[in-house]
């Protein structure tokens, strides 16, 4: 193999307006190695790799591919130099088949010729890697793991020898993720240079030859295989963050009863006879890999959709039961429901509207901020200021600014403040700390544990098993639209993991 480094980046800088995404970032990758880039969300890992793949042009610094300094003009240029990137959000045209997608990136002669030739090449690579790929189905109908394989083969057909994978295991089950990483190691053994962008310590320790830790847009350290997870974690995070401890719970009466929920509306994930109960003062965690019905369940529980059949019942203080199976958000709210959806931008906030309005909307209908013929903004502003202070929301120059200007963590704090200001009895929380840095994450967890102390029944749906394990009193595992197993707080991680992949 060549003695030159496959990829070398030094002193890379990149700004987006006033936001500094990369500030003196560097990286070197050898041929035949699996090199991991570890860091929290927002550390700059993806940005740095986008520079290497020709999608961003750096404001400063040096990029060398196979020993040659270069100033990439675009993704095509990078591809020509054997750099291929597999993004977190696949760049696939869902309506096209695998062959068409690969052909799109690798044009060959006439259309018919191209299809045939590409088909042959795909099969060649697939066999070498031990994949089984349906070439002619629209990729939108393939599973996520299969789509990822198409992405990988796309780069291999283009002749990539430096492969960059951005958070590849984020959307896979533990088992699929392991399989993928074994394949990648295989490719490295045969001489390719692999860059693995991830925030998962376990993947780093099992598969990486070396790891570069990034934080705040710069490179902190590069370490060899065998470094302890503690050391890696501290480097990635900067300081030790103490995770809030879950004390012993005092669960009370049943608050939320879900029986035989059935939902046919989505092709990918149907809900089948979902049944569970949650008591007041308890956190019921629903674990599982994304795409197994969690979003549908969250939507139905929060009332934005009605199930095809089944019951959702709330038990009011005093014992009365209310059937809330129809999809009516207003009724849920009236009976003490609150919800924090996973898709914050799309469902929890209106980015172009002010912070005040985004908070006030939870209470406007009660008349607290004026009668129907007049909305009293001053009163709303006051209430919002108090709430912002209590929730420690940072980055607010003025409460009248657009909520879209808040960072993810602060926006989430605002959403939670709003939902809790309703004094709910039941709250549905879906992936609350996704995309948040460790500090914000800890704040969110603290809030949830407080709610638990106050007697709220919490349904926590999350793909982050660590989050589930640290917060939940009871855990339900969701696979293929069904709760396949339930565990209590002492549930063994392995057993849970098995349940997550066991029933398909």
């Amino acid at each position: 193999m060549d003695n030159a480094l496959a990829l070398e980046m030094a002193g890379i800088r990149k700004n987006f307006g006033s936001f500094r995404a990369l500030d003196d970032a560097s990286l070197d990758v050898r041929w035949g190695e699996v090199h991991a880039i570890l860091g929290e969300n927002g550390a700059g890992k993806s940005s740095l790799m986008n520079v290497a793949a020709g999608l961003y042009s750096p404001d400063g610094g040096l990029l060398r591919i196979n020993g040659q300094a270069c100033d990439l003009t675009g993704p095509r240029d990078a591809m020509a130099r054997s750099v291929g990137m597999i993004h977190q959000h696949f760049k696939l045209v869902k309506r096209f088949s695998a062959v068409q997608n690969v052909l799109l990136a690798n044009p060959r002669g006439s259309y018919r010729q191209g299809l045939a030739e590409i088909g042959r090449e795909i099969n060649k690579h697939a066999k070498a890697l031990g994949f089984d790929l349906d070439l002619h189905r629209p990729v939108g109908l393939l599973s996520v793991a299969e789509q990822q394989r198409v992405e990988i083969i796309k780069t291999l057909v283009a002749g990539a020898r430096i492969l960059i994978l951005d958070e590849p295991t984020a959307v896979l089950t533990d088992e699929e993720g392991a399989k993928l990483l074994r394949t990648i190691s295989d490719l490295a053994q045969r001489g390719a240079a692999i860059v693995l962008v991830t925030h998962k310590l376990r993947d780093v320790q099992t598969f990486a030859d070396r790891v570069t830790v990034m934080r705040g847009g710069r490179t902190i350290a590069t370490l060899n295989r065998g470094t302890s997870s503690d050391e890696l974690a501290t480097l990635a995070v900067g300081t030790k963050i103490v995770a809030p401890q879950r004390g012993d719970g005092k669960p009370g009466v049943e608050r939320l009863i879900v029986r035989d929920l059935h939902d046919e509306s989505s092709d990918q994930s149907r809900l089948r006879q979902v049944t569970f109960t949650v008591r007041s003062g308890e956190i019921y965690g629903i674990a599982g890999v994304g795409g197994n019905g969690q979003t549908e369940l969250a939507d139905i529980l929060s009332g934005s959709r009605a199930p095809s059949s089944g019951h959702v019942e709330a038990v009011l203080p005093g014992g009365a039961r209310v059937d809330l199976s129809s999809g009516n958000p207003r009724r849920r709210i009236d009976f003490g429901f609150a919800a924090v959806p996973a898709d914050r931008q799309g469902q929890a906030i209106a980015s172009s509207v002010s912070i005040v309005d985004n908070y006030a909307i939870a209470h406007v209908h009660t008349g607290r901020f004026g009668p129907w013929w007049r909305f009293k903004r001053a009163a709303a502003r006051e209430a919002t200021s108090v709430a912002l202070r209590d929730a420690d929301v940072q980055g607010v120059r003025s409460a009248s600014q657009r909520v879209g200007l808040l960072s993810g963590g602060n926006a989430q704090k605002l959403v939670m403040a709003r939902e809790f200001s309703r004094a709910p009895k039941i709250i549905i929380v879906h992936s609350p700390s996704r995309g948040l840095d460790v500090r914000a994450c800890a704040a969110i967890h603290r809030r949830l544990l407080n709610a638990r102390e106050e007697g709220v029944a919490v349904v926590l749906i999350s793909e982050d098993l660590d989050e589930i394990l640290s917060l939940s009193d009871r855990i339900g595992v969701m696979t293929a639209g069904r709760i396949v197993a339930e565990f209590d707080a002492s549930g063994d991680r392995q057993a849970i993991g098995r349940a997550m992949v066991g029933h398909v």
Partner: protein
């Protein structure tokens, strides 16, 4: 009855052609993700340019049709600059384009004195004894050359979209410009040319309307056909051959009116003129029941594409 049917069916192709060409032109641009609401305006431009060229070149219908295509193509550049380069909202830009074209064609038509001047149009082809056959003769063998070109044109566009590499790229741009960009395709350039190419077809539809069908230019003569074509594209699920079928349907509806009048059926004149618009409603409603109507559209239709970087 027989006579009525024959004359009716024989008059359908000429009325269907403008709808067909306009729809196919729209399909080309919409498959690339650009919603082209300006079709009504581009048809007007094509119609005026056609008559104008005919009058200034002393009667060459060929030049007239080419002129209608070129004129519409040029005006569409304005639209393409607005929506592809300047990322203007495609609905606003489309509406503005229609009114721009309406104003412009009225102005030029009046000032250049091209309005209300009858022209002879194009001769119908003569296939000898075939044209004289009963029933089949008038229906199939007595049309002008452009009508005979219509079917090949529709099929060519279909072939282009489904079986060529460039067609694949164009569709990719319309479905997922992010993926197309990552594959190294210049999204802006593809969209730009899709708009202009589509405009050539839409302009020719207008040119046919004025030069061959009506044989005259009158302000506003397209009377909403451009809007109907937009609805037709949805009805045809963005497929050129289906658009042709839809155009024939509309041609049939439009052809019915004068035939009924000629047959002596007494119907309120203005309510009859409403039929194409009512038919469009019927088609849209039927389409909505058939399927979730926009489910088949190119996924990025109507959304400007902005890649964060690379400037």
């Amino acid at each position: 009855m027989n006579d009525f049917l024959v004359t009716w069916i024989a008059s359908i192709p000429a009325l269907a052609l403008p709808y067909a060409l306009a729809s196919v032109g729209l399909i080309v641009s919409e498959r690339a993700g650009v919603l082209s609401l300006g079709a009504e305006g581009l048809m007007l431009v094509g119609a005026l340019a056609g008559v104008g060229a005919y009058l200034t070149t002393d009667g060459s219908a060929f030049v007239a049709i080419v002129a209608s295509m070129v004129a519409a193509g040029l005006v569409s550049v304005l639209f393409a600059v607005l929506v592809v380069w300047l990322r203007v909202n495609q609905v606003i830009a489309g509406l503005a384009l229609v009114f721009f074209c309406q104003g412009l064609t009225n102005l030029v038509g009046t000032l250049a004195d091209w309005s209300n001047r009858a022209i002879p149009g194009i001769a119908e082809l003569n296939f000898g004894f075939l044209s004289d056959l009963p029933v089949v003769g008038p229906i199939l063998f007595r049309h002008d050359v452009l009508i005979y070109l219509l079917v090949p044109v529709c099929f060519s566009v279909h072939y282009f979209l489904s079986s060529t590499t460039y067609g694949l790229k164009l569709k990719a741009v319309g479905e997922n410009p992010d993926a197309a960009d990552a594959a190294g395709i210049n999204v802006s350039r593809v969209r730009f040319w899709a708009v202009v190419a589509g405009a050539l077809l839409v302009g020719s539809a207008g040119g046919y309307l004025s030069v061959v069908s009506a044989k005259i230019w009158v302000a506003g003569m397209t009377s909403g056909r451009g809007w109907i074509a937009v609805a037709l594209v949805i009805f045809a699920r963005w497929k050129p051959v289906q658009a042709l079928a839809g155009a024939i349907l509309f041609g049939a509806v439009e052809a019915l009116i004068p035939q009924l009048n000629a047959a002596g059926v007494k119907l309120p004149q203005y309510y009859l003129l409403m039929t194409p618009y009512v038919a469009t409603f019927v088609v849209m409603i039927w389409q909505a029941f058939r399927e979730r109507s926009d489910a088949d559209g190119p996924a990025s239709l109507g959304q400007p594409y902005i890649r964060e970087e690379r400037t």
